[in-house]
Amino acid sequence: MIASLFDLTLCLLILAAAGAAVFGRAAFMAVVFFIVYGILIAIAWLRLGAIDVALAEAAIGAGLTGVLLLAALARITRRIDAPEPSTGPDRTTLATALASLVIASAIAFAFLTLPEPQGLQERVAENLADAGAENPVTAVLLNFRGWDTLLESIVLLAALLGIWTLARDEAWGGRAGPRHVTRPGGVLAQFGRVLPPIGLLVGIYLVWAGSKQPGGAFQGGTVLAAVWIVTIMAGLMQAPRVADRALRAALVIGPVIFLALAVAGVVAGAFLVFPPVHAGWLILAVEAVLTLSIAVTLAMLVFGPPEEEEKP
């Protein structure tokens, strides 16, 4: 009963935050509401027994997406909180509202009339011993559905290439994103010294623990990316040049090794196989390089395309 009370309150808060993010007149306010919304959704995932997803949502939904939105907003408009011109309810907005209501109701109806659940919990549990990871979610991500994960790590690179194409020709090869300056000894610079060591530990811990308990390459990679972003925003380091070979190697190393492993499976007449005997360390190794690539890619996604030419 109390659990339901908690769930109901949380649902209402989520809806309120989402509603404000959608209806709020000022774009800045909408973005802040979206960040809050991400935090609340992360809590909801805990109530649905999905700690791994909660970690991903806390790191990506509430964290990185919010940072991306804030940065984009700041670059689009000088007066970033100017409200949208109020149009008032006209015929199209009313029709849209009605259509959205109908669609949401249809989805809710479909959800309520779902047949008896027939999940794959048992099948995953039966095969877990051969999967090389005790955490079932990690086993699914890296082994049972490893091909999804491999493609997904390449999706990140595709997005980065897409962002890099948006650079001006003159700026190509230069450092990614704007140059960050802070006052030495100021709060931000101090912040940049304190936070990274903690974050580094947490990130590595999440990857390492991921094979036994919730965590893994994406969650750990996101935290590590956040560490790097903080260091650069605090002006302690500069973002790398996009023409930097070491950077490019770090971006692709994870997917390359994962792909190589997939091809190696051909010897066994299959594709992307983790032999049960070696699955444990192989998965940990793949996760380690994948984490590196994910962390670097995510950070580069946040920095954006190179903006100014390198001055001698």
Binding site: S4, L8, L48, I76, T77, P85, P117, G304
Partner: protein
């Protein structure tokens, strides 16, 4: 009185989020707001998906949808990052945060950098 299960509440919440986001996606003209609405729809779908795989708490949460949702969250982040970078690049050239066909006269004043 039978207390509603967590799955039921969050599933319906997910459906409502999809509706909310859909409305925002269609109504807003400024592209950044549409990207925001896209993310609301996305997490609504994930919530619905997660809730539907937790209908039988005794069996525990199904790990397969969880893995798919994590994949989906990362894919949504990639799409968001690219869309936002495009919006920034477009705003720099066009001095507007909305597409030409959507930019009502006077509406894009605030978007001037």
């Amino acid at each position: 009185m039978i207390a509603p299960s967590a799955s039921l509440l969050y599933g319906l919440c997910g459906a409502a989020l999809i509706g909310l986001g859909l409305y925002g996606f269609v109504v807003h003209r400024r592209l950044i707001r549409r990207v925001l609405a896209f993310n609301v729809i996305g997490s609504g779908i994930f919530l619905l998906f997660g809730a539907s795989s937790y209908r039988d708490p005794a069996a525990g949460a199904d790990p397969v949808p969880q893995a798919m949702i994590i994949t989906g969250i990362v894919v949504a982040l990639s799409a968001t990052a690219l869309a936002l970078a495009l919006i920034v690049a477009y705003a720099r050239l066009a001095q507007s945060g909305a597409l030409p066909e959507d930019a009502a006269p006077g509406a894009d004043d605030e978007d001037r950098p």
